[in-house]
C-alpha cells in the first residue's frame, strides 16, 4: 500500500445533538482503504458502524449530526473541506452506498427504471435512451431476470432480494470506485444473503472497487473481507487483516465477538454471549468503553481511553492488556480457511 489510499479517514468524530447535550456517536476513528480492497467493519448495533459510513457519504442530517473533528480523504481530496456541490457530484458516481433495508430504501411511487436512470442522468449527461440501455445492462448484471420488463415495475412488485439487487444496481450504475455497503444482506433470507455476497464479490473483482462492508455477522467478514475494523461504542477496538483477526484476536471484545459466533461444529450447548450491554451514548465513561464488560479491566482502563498499539504490521489494538488474555473469556474457535 504505497499509493495514496482510495479512502482515508483520520480521527473522525461525529457528534449528535440530543436532549442530554452533544454526544459522540463516533469518536476518533481512523482507517484507510486501498482501491480493490474490502474492509469489513464489525460491531454490535449502536457501535457507530453506520454513522461512520454515513459520515463518509455525507448523508447524516445536520443538525442534529455534526462532524466534530477529523478528516475524510477520498482519492486524496478532503471531503469535509469540499463545497457541497462537489461532494454531491461524487455521491452516487464515484462513491455508491447500499443500505440495510431494501424494503424501504426505494421510492414506492417511481418505477425501478426511473430510479436507476435518474442516477445515471444526474452524473453522466446521457440521452435518455442511452441511460435506459445502461440501466437495463446494470440490472442484468446484478442478476435481475428480464431486466427490460422489470424497469417498468414499482418497488412493491419486487421481492426483498430483488429490491436489494436494484439498490446495488443503483449504487453501481455510475461505476463507483468506492462502495459502502451497510448491512446489505441483514434483512434477507440466508440463501439470498449468500447470492448477494457472491454477486458483490464478483463485481468487486470485475471492477476493482474498494468496498467498505458493514456487518455484525462474523461469518460474512471471514468470507468476504480483506481487513477488519472492529468497532465498540463509537471507537475502533481493533484493526487487523482478516486472518490475523481470527487467528489471534487481541482485543477482549473481538475475542468475545468471535467466541459468540455460533458454529456448525459447536457443542450444542447454550450460545456464547458477551455479558453486559453497550454503554449508552453520552454516558461519559472516561476510560475504555468496554471496561464495564471486560474481564481484563483494571483501574487504568477506567481512567482514560486506551491508546492504539500496533501489535503486528497492520494489526492495531486499543487495549492496555492486549497481550494478557484472561481465563474465562470466550475462547475463539478457529474459523476454517
Amino acid at each position: 500500500m504505497t499509493a495514496a489510499p482510495l479512502l482515508q479517514v483520520e480521527g473522525l468524530t461525529t457528534l449528535f445533538r440530543t436532549g442530554r447535550g452533544e454526544v459522540a456517536a463516533v469518536e476518533d476513528v481512523s482507517f484507510a482503504l486501498a482501491a480493490g480492497e474490502v474492509l469489513g467493519i464489525v460491531g454490535e448495533s449502536g457501535s457507530g458502524k453506520s454513522v461512520t459510513a454515513l459520515s463518509v457519504m455525507g448523508l447524516l442530517p445536520e443538525p442534529p449530526a455534526r462532524i466534530g473533528a477529523g478528516r475524510i480523504r477520498f482519492e486524496g481530496r478532503d471531503l469535509l473541506a469540499m463545497p457541497a456541490r462537489e461532494r454531491r457530484a461524487l455521491r452516487g458516481a464515484a462513491m455508491g452506498m447500499v443500505f440495510q433495508e431494501p424494503m424501504t430504501s426505494l421510492n414506492p411511487v417511481f418505477t425501478v427504471g426511473d430510479q436507476i436512470v435518474e442516477t445515471i442522468r444526474t452524473h453522466d449527461r446521457l440521452p435518455l435512451s442511452a441511460a435506459r440501455d445502461r440501466a437495463v445492462a446494470t440490472l442484468a448484471r446484478v442478476g435481475i431476470p428480464s431486466p427490460a420488463r422489470r424497469m417498468q415495475d414499482y418497488p412493491h412488485q419486487l421481492s426483498g432480494g430483488m429490491r436489494q439487487r436494484v439498490m446495488i444496481a443503483i449504487a453501481l450504475a455510475c461505476a463507483p470506485r468506492l462502495l459502502l455497503a451497510d448491512e446489505p444482506t441483514t434483512a434477507l433470507d440466508v440463501t439470498i444473503q449468500a447470492q448477494l455476497l457472491d454477486l458483490m464479490r464478483d463485481l468487486q473483482t470485475e471492477r476493482g472497487m474498494g468496498i467498505v462492508l458493514i456487518t455484525h455477522n462474523m461469518g460474512v467478514i471471514a468470507e468476504f473481507a480483506d481487513r477488519v475494523l472492529v468497532m465498540y461504542a463509537g471507537r475502533v477496538a481493533e484493526e487487523a487483516p482478516v486472518e490475523a483477526l481470527f487467528d489471534a484476536p487481541r482485543h477482549p471484545y473481538t475475542v468475545g465477538l468471535i467466541g459468540a459466533t455460533p458454529t456448525l461444529e459447536g457443542t450444542g450447548g447454550a450460545l456464547v454471549t458477551i455479558p453486559g450491554t453497550l454503554p449508552r451514548l453520552g454516558d461519559g465513561l472516561p476510560g475504555c468503553g468496554f471496561a464495564p464488560r471486560c474481564l481484563r479491566a483494571t483501574a487504568a482502563c477506567r481512567a482514560a481511553p486506551p491508546p492504539m498499539v500496533e501489535v503486528a504490521p497492520g494489526h492495531r489494538v486499543a487495549c492496555l492488556h492486549w497481550d494478557r488474555p484472561t481465563p474465562g473469556e470466550a475462547r475463539a474457535p478457529r474459523v476454517p480457511a
Partner: protein, 318 residues
Amino acid sequence: MAAYALRRLLQSIPLLLLVSLIAFGLMKLVPGDPAMVMGGPNATADEIDAIRRNLGLDRPFWVQLGAFYWNLAQGDLGRSLLLGQPVGAAIVERLPATISIALYSMGLTLVFGLSIGIVAALRHNTIVDQAAMVIALLGVSLPNFWVGLVLIVLFSVQLGWLPTGGYVAFGDDPVGWLRSATLPAVSLALLQIGLLARITRSAMLEVLRQDYIRTARAKGLSEWKVVGKHAFANVRIPVVTVIGLIFSVLLSGSVIVETVFSVPGMGALLGNAILRRDYPLIQGGLLFVAAALMLINLLVDILYAWCDPRVRIGGDAR
C-alpha cells in the same frame, strides 16, 4: 385506471339513490302537516290546500315517491315556495358565485397551505417552522365571520381598496369579479390554509425521515430534486385526501361568509331555505351537495390511484 374509475363511478350509484331517498323522506319527516308548517301561522285553509296540492301531498305515498323519481330523472327538482322559481334554476343561478369563490379559495389554500407546510417541514424546529405553525394555528382558530369583518374594516372601509360586499360575475367583468371575490375567498381560505399547512408539514416530516429520501441523497441528487420530486411525490398521497375534503367544504358554500359579504351563493340560498322552511329547495340543495361531494370523492380516489402505484397496481410481491 379507466376501469378503476368506472368501477368507482358505478359504486356511487347506490349511494346516490340512498341520498335521494333521504331527500324525499325529508318531506315525510316534517313534524305535523308539512303544508301547514310551510304555510306559516297566518296561512288560510285555501293557501294550505294550494301548497298541499302543489307538492302533491294529497296523493298516496307510492305515487309521491314515483313522481319524485320521475321528476328527478327529468332534472325537475320541484318549485321553490319562497322564490317562486324552479329549484334547479335557483341552484344554477347561485352556483357560479359559490363555485368561483370556492375555486379562488382552493387556489389560495393550495398555494399557501402547501408552501407553508413544506417550508415549515424543511426548516423543522427553527423559528421559521414555529412562525409558520403560529400562522396556521391562527388560521384554524380565528372564526371566519370575524376575519371577514376585520378584512372589510381594513381593506374596504379604511383603505378603500375592495368593495365591502356584493358579487360581480366573472363573465361580466373579470376585474370586478376579482375585486368582489377576494375578501370572501381569503376569509374562507384562512381556515383551510391552516389545516392544509399543518397536514402538509406533518406528512413532509414523515416522508423526509424515510429511507428512500436518504437513498435519493446517496444518489447525488440535488436537494431540489430530493424534496421536489422524491419527497413531494409521496407527500401528495395523504394530502390529496385532505384537499378533496377541503374542496367539498368550500363547494357547499358558507352561509356565514356569503352573508357577511352579501354574496348570492349556495350557502346563503340554502341557509335561507332552511330558515324559511322551503322544503323543495332544501331537498334540491341536499341532493345537489350530496352529488357534488360524491363526485369530489370519486375524483380524490382517482387522483389517489394516480399518485400511488401501490393502489393502482396491486400484487405486492411479499
